[in-house]
Symmetry: C2
Subunit: 433 residues, 2 copies
Amino acid sequence: MQVEVVAVGTELLLGDVVDTNSAWIAQHLALAGVDVFYQTRVGDNVERIGAALRLALERSDAVVVCGGLGPTPDDVTREALAAFLGVELVRDDAVLARIRELFDQRGRTMPPSNERQADVPVGAGVIEQRRGTAPGLICPVPAPGGSPEATSPVSSQVVYAVPGVPREMTEMVTRAVIPDLQARMGGRSSIVSRVLHTWGVAESALAERLAPRLEALDAAGNPTIAFLAGGMEGVKVRITARSGTVEEAAVVLDTEEAAVRALLGRSVFACDGTTMEAVVGGMLQAAGLHLALAESMTGGLIASRCTDVPGSSAWLRGGIVSYASEVKFDLLDVPKGPVVSEVAARAMAEGAARVLGADAGLAVTGVAGPETQDDMPVGTVFVGLYLHGDTDVAHLRLAGDRTVIRQNAAVSAFDVLRLRLLDTHSASPGGPS
Amino acid sequence: MQVEVVAVGTELLLGDVVDTNSAWIAQHLALAGVDVFYQTRVGDNVERIGAALRLALERSDAVVVCGGLGPTPDDVTREALAAFLGVELVRDDAVLARIRELFDQRGRTMPPSNERQADVPVGAGVIEQRRGTAPGLICPVPAPGGSPEATSPVSSQVVYAVPGVPREMTEMVTRAVIPDLQARMGGRSSIVSRVLHTWGVAESALAERLAPRLEALDAAGNPTIAFLAGGMEGVKVRITARSGTVEEAAVVLDTEEAAVRALLGRSVFACDGTTMEAVVGGMLQAAGLHLALAESMTGGLIASRCTDVPGSSAWLRGGIVSYASEVKFDLLDVPKGPVVSEVAARAMAEGAARVLGADAGLAVTGVAGPETQDDMPVGTVFVGLYLHGDTDVAHLRLAGDRTVIRQNAAVSAFDVLRLRLLDTHSASPGGPS
């Protein structure tokens, strides 16, 4: 089974919008055992979308068309599909009712232009919309020469249309497109992969630590290891195994993961997309601890990442963004003096735990730039951690611009807490492995 | 002048990493007046990178190769360039010294594997690295049949190599690649565009308001208007004008922007990538006001976005993330009772201003999900705003999952403040226009 992705949108060609969808679809189809060899981008134009579909179906079994299902006049994927299939577009009353309902739920009136989103090519199935107003479409492609209406037994080719809004697309591809493709394939799947997230070790140093495994694997060819520079979330190590069955591939993966973890040690903090904050939150919850935050240079970033984790109220009391120095002095009892200092970080961590009534206090003060502060260079960061009656302060030097330094300081602060909890509690660093 | 982008990286083909670079490069070259008609993605493989370069130079004047300049063994763009050009790779001592210096600045020792990043194809120029360790390359392409060393006068084609790490790539393309291309073109440029950011109006409703302009422009063909669904940052309206000179195009753009703003009114909050928080911060600063935050469901997101703005210490005192109810009661004097309520939002806004010593208090309480709270449905949001002795509370109903609701609540809270400041102060809503 070979599938092709056609991303629709003039804004993609102009670079106004980044085509994250093609990569997401390719990745998730690959993990489902479906090959994607071609990705095309095409503008909002009926003829050019048709030409892209024609080319795609000459070399692939199925096509996922992404985008152009919106309500504005430039959204013409529905029209292009009908024209390509040689059928009429018919307004579907059930779909229209669903669109109205979605507007009602938001307390809004449906503008007339959204009615177009209920148009469905004759013979196509509808993928119900759950996150946005545009439904998806499953269009069986008639075999050449066959009648356009007599589709299903004659043809094995299919075109899926999904919205271009990423969160709508991902939900629809996961719920409807991949299961439909797998049903057509008879459920065969043979590639599995796992991503280990690391923090605190440069990509080149990771490669050196893993050199024995990389050499052994290069010879064997299966599994494989790749490094994914994850930018501000650390370097990721991806292990991919191929085998006749998913179960066999999983065994290969488990063995290799154990070997990699043995070489990388505590720098591996999570697996398969689990975030640093979710790992730390899980460790706090397991230890029955409640956390309070005091943030200066990170300005709420750490609190925001904590509260991104569902259920974080079980382990997070809250935080104080002490951006003005007076807030540090008056609310957190930081001694008057330089606020980018070990003394300030210590007082902030203890003050946060006291003011917010928590067992643990984590504090960050530093210089994000662009200006220096308290004669400290840009990138200076102090992380204070109050836990079990003791307060430690870590002094870091981070590189990058303001955004990078702030993000890096936030993850580094989580990592200080993670390593301390690993030392004092027997929680697992990266979830079940 | 026609340029092509070749994105290098097996992880791009597998979908592990989204190729944001091609779109970014295409967009910024388009704004510089350079056409990008082709984008290719290729794996980390010397032969296939060479084949992609050969094809690209058959149909384009220049190629920007992005990625594969890292220190790990799978990074082979340097080798591929040398092989394609038929020249040796030579280690450059000045480049090597610069890499060591970058490691020293971070207090780290350079691993031996990074030495490879100092390898330069004979005849190529080096683009100094400022954000990462990989230098960029400018490789003149010898005309067919010419000597590989005698490049510049003979050839007009060129290959640029830049790192795949986005923040390194963007800096290098802006600083070195675009100016070099413009010098080769003789500085001609004729396309300008401007993006207006809107909040609070659906894309379909914006299209209806702009219908008279859209019809008039469709007939004329210049300028053009496009809608960019910006996801959680509102809908963007992009106006693009073409003309013989940048100055002429800018006049067309100014006229059209005025017409669009007249139809969209206060829903336009910013222009060309300015964020909502930067706009609100600018208005606060102009009014001489200081802001305090109290966040429950947004959990530090608003504070984090405020402190992302350089210079925000001029108008932000700080914030309190009152995640646990006890923090609301004890620190902010919220009356005991339901914390997702108008009463709580009001007390939080006033409490934040009082505790943090600010003129204005902005508070958000609500239900981000996945669970309901205080019998309120997921998506319920109360925004409290204390300003000039008065406190107002806005009651919103937002749709989406936890992440979307939180982001949407944050931007909506900023917008409540923005509209109130527009009513009470004569600041401009979207900067100079």
